[in-house]
């Protein structure tokens, strides 16, 4: 199986500008709307700025949770939403451990990051990049980035406050 790709951000480097967030909603929905973006920016003091994307989990609980079988993994390993099938039930939202999939309030269809690279190209400080588990281990051998995510997981992934 190919190494699954996903986007990761370094909360120590990210300045919190939200350009990536706006790029995504502009690219896919032609609006500026953090609520409708596939990436969330969460600032946690002191001094951390997280940008949170679909982790492209190997077991992808979102896929299993969907009663309509609207979610599937493509041959390139990307988890995508089939808009024809999606009824907006929200089961995937419930199932995702990273709060990385949500329902677009306008279309009532699920939206999630599909690793397209558009936001990455525009981050002014190169705080985000396309990675794989293997690449990340090489780049961050002490696992500092994951450790920061883990440390704040409750606040980062809590569902009660999407965006």
């Amino acid at each position: 199986m190919v190494d699954l790709k996903f986007v990761i951000g370094d909360p120590r480097v990210c300045t919190g500008c939200m350009i990536c967030v706006n790029v995504c909603s502009m690219r896919y929905l032609k609006v500026i709307s953090p609520e409708r973006s596939r990436v969330r920016a969460v600032r946690i003091e002191p001094g951390l700025d997280f940008t949170l994307f679909c982790r492209n989990c190997e077991d992808a609980p979102c896929i299993d949770a969907c009663p309509e079988e609207a979610l599937s993994r493509t041959s390139k390993g990307i988890v995508i939403v089939n808009n024809k099938k999606c009824t907006g039930s929200g089961s995937c939202v419930e199932a995702c451990p990273y709060n990385a999939i949500r329902i677009n309030p306008d279309t009532e269809k699920a939206i999630k990051c599909i690793q397209c690279d558009e936001c990455i190209k525009r981050c002014p400080v190169d705080a985000i990049w396309m990675t794989t588990m293997r690449e990340l281990e090489e780049r961050d051998p002490d696992g500092e980035i994951w450790a920061l995510h883990d440390e704040h997981s409750e606040e980062l992934y809590s569902k009660e406050d999407l965006q």
Partner: protein, 630 residues
């Protein structure tokens, strides 16, 4: 319909507790844009002439710009305005952050507050829900505590504006704070919030902004991003924020020191941007769509000045540092942090303390006046102590909470001589004898001493090309010469017109004025793709002029004339005692003559001529006023 905006304005009558939503008036927007221009018109019409700024009759306005929450570089800003309790004239202040964009995403462009609430309240906005809630449990709390409590209640994604204790206690230079450490600092508008018993505005917006030209949008913004990132100023701004201005200003003798006796400070290296970056910087920060990232997140790890938070700006290094003869950097950083916590303008804060220090140095203030606090130059423990005493109006802090002009009036004994203000607002960190345009800008600014209303920095750092582009070859080299008063009236006038447009769009002066990367044509293009407006450069220039003239009428109505457009004698009569600008004075009259002429204002009174008002469509506004004929 206007694209790219919230579309609605909220009016809150705090006396009655009534809330009304109105659609944004497109006609008004075409004439004044949003942000500062919109507030200048609405408040001109709604603030009665002869009122006390801290009375319920004052009207407090908050507005986002036309491009706030767009994707234009540095488009996060909002404006706050009212009659100022510090200057008794037009009060206006701006800040970056995320509050403005959030307000737009909730569907609103501006909020106005009239009257005063009998009990502490805050306004809570959650998309279509707008409600006044009791602020009993946050009244008396500082900015950080208030932020924690209200975000716990309304969700961590909520964005807030608030006052700290300084605003509640009506400190005349209290700031309106937002997003923890961002400040609409000048003009004392935090005290206006306090007088209305308005503690905070909490906003959560889950809406969307629909732009006028979605097809061209991203390409247009990409080009702006490319230019911004390619500008040679950007890396330095990202590395140092504004902090290394200390070194640059020392170099040209423009670093106010020992109140404003001189423009050089022997301890400048200790409070420099280099030192901050090396020892205390945690990381640079950005506000909404900001590529400049001048915001600093810093910490002092141990000792009496331990903290972690957002700070500082050059202005604070100057005001609590060199201006107070203080080279203890940790106290400067901590002082800035405290000012954020209590909600105060660090410029007026440091300017007021340094006035007291000079009066002490001259023997005009003694321990009997100061509750025994030693005000020797550089006594950082006293400075830090005073910050809290001012915010809470304790003892001598109560005197200083009035600002230096009123404090000197109260103390007398010749201390007035050391008041470094224009229209009772403390002059910011630009010793004008070393940059003449800054002296002129300080006196013509509508809100009293101010470097930002015009932000005339084109003579600061070799912007000859931009001067050529924006003004024409014929003004070189004089306009680019910092110490030469020639053409500074023309420069300040043009800079003011452009800067009020920038403040009406919700953009930052970084990127538009320093570095001067984006000008009228660029913002006109942004207005086209974002809002669907087809403004030309000439249209926007006229709007800028209109706003400046309306601000002037607001002040003229309050009695302001040329006589008020003046600097402290020290700056116009006493040559700079040392440093690179040694012997220089500000040739204010010469520059003012040129400025009034260029503006079409009467040279004696400084009031716009009837023909000027006619040209700008301000005849109705001036009705009932004595308007001079050319």
């Amino acid at each position: 319909m206007i694209h790219g905006v919230g579309g609605k304005v909220i009016w809150v009558d705090l006396t009655k507790g009534e809330i009304e939503k109105r659609p944004i008036e497109k006609k008004l927007v075409e004439k004044y844009l949003l942000g500062a221009g919109y507030l200048s018109k609405v408040l001109f019409d709604s603030i009665p002439t002869d009122i006390d700024p801290l009375s319920p009759e004052n009207v407090l306005g908050f507005a986002t710009g036309l491009l706030t929450a767009s994707m234009f570089p540095q488009s996060s800003r909002h404006v706050v305005a009212a009659l100022s309790p510090l200057t008794d004239v037009w009060g206006e202040s701006h800040a970056a952050g995320f509050w403005g964009p959030e307000l737009k995403l909730a569907g609103y462009d501006a909020i106005f507050f009239t009257g005063a609430s009998p009990d502490p309240v805050y306004l809570n906005i959650n998309d279509s829900t707008v409600e006044l809630l009791s602020a009993d449990d946050v009244w008396g709390r500082d900015v950080f505590e208030t932020d924690d409590i209200l975000r716990k209640r309304h969700g961590k994604r909520a964005r807030l504006i608030y006052i700290g204790q300084a605003g509640e206690n009506l400190v005349r230079f209290a700031a309106v704070m937002n997003d923890r450490d961002r400040a609409s600092a000048r003009s004392g508008l935090g005290a206006v919030m306090g007088s209305k018993k308005l503690k905070a505005i909490c906003v959560r917006g889950a809406g969307k902004i629909e732009v006028a030209d979605p097809k061209k949008y991203m390409d247009t913004m990409d080009e702006f991003y490319r230019r911004m990132l390619a500008n040679p100023f950007t890396p330095g701004r990202a590395k140092y924020g504004t902090t290394n201005l200390v070194e640059m200003m020392q170099h040209i003798g423009r670093l106010p020191s020992y109140n404003m006796r001189q423009g050089v400070f022997e301890g400048y290296e200790k409070i420099s941007g280099e030192t901050i970056t090396e020892k205390y910087l945690v990381k640079p920060r950005s506000d909404w769509c900001c590529l400049q990232r001048c915001a600093r997140y810093t910490s002092v790890k141990e000792g009496p000045y331990k903290y972690v938070g957002g700070s500082p700006e050059f202005e604070t290094q100057s005001s609590l540092g060199s201006r107070c003869g203080n080279d203890n950097l940790e106290s400067v950083l901590f002082g800035h942090h405290l000012a954020n916590q209590y909600g105060m303008d660090t410029i007026s804060l440091g300017g007021t303390i340094s006035w007291a220090m000079e009066a002490w140095d001259e023997g005009l203030l003694t321990a009997d006046d100061t509750d025994g606090i030693d005000l020797s130059w550089g006594n950082h423990e006293s400075i830090v102590k005073l910050i809290k005493m001012i915010a809470f109006r304790e003892g001598f802090g109560d005197v200083l909470a009035e600002g230096s002009a009123r404090a000197a009036e109260k103390i007398g004994r010749g201390t007035e001589k050391f008041v470094m203000t224009v229209k009772k607002q403390e002059i910011a960190g630009q010793e004008p004898r070393a940059q003449k345009s800054m002296g002129l800008a300080a006196v013509t600014a509508a809100r009293g001493a101010d470097h930002l209303y015009a932000f005339p920095v084109l003579d600061e750092a070799g912007f000859d090309d931009e001067i050529r582009e924006r003004f024409g070859e014929e003004y070189l080299p004089e306009m680019a010469e910092r110490l030469n008063p020639k053409y500074k009236g023309i420069m300040v006038k043009e800079c003011e017109d452009f800067m009020v447009v920038v403040e009406s769009l919700g953009l930052c002066k970084y990127g538009t004025q320093i570095p001067p990367e984006f000008y009228y044509e660029d913002v006109a293009l942004a207005l086209k793709v974002h809002n669907g407006f087809e403004f030309t450069r000439a249209d926007l220039q006229t709007i800028g002029e209109r706003i400046v003239n309306l601000n002037r009428l607001f002040n003229a109505r309050r009695g302001v004339t040329r006589a008020d457009d003046c600097l402290p004698d020290r700056l116009t009569k006493e040559g700079a005692p040392l440093g690179p600008s040694k012997g220089e004075v500000v040739e204010l009259d010469q520059m003012l003559d040129e400025y009034y002429l260029k503006r079409g204002w009467d040279n004696e009174t400084g009031i716009p001529y009837a023909s000027t008002l006619q040209r700008l469509g301000l005849v109705e506004e001036a009705s009932g006023m004595e308007i001079p004929d050319e």
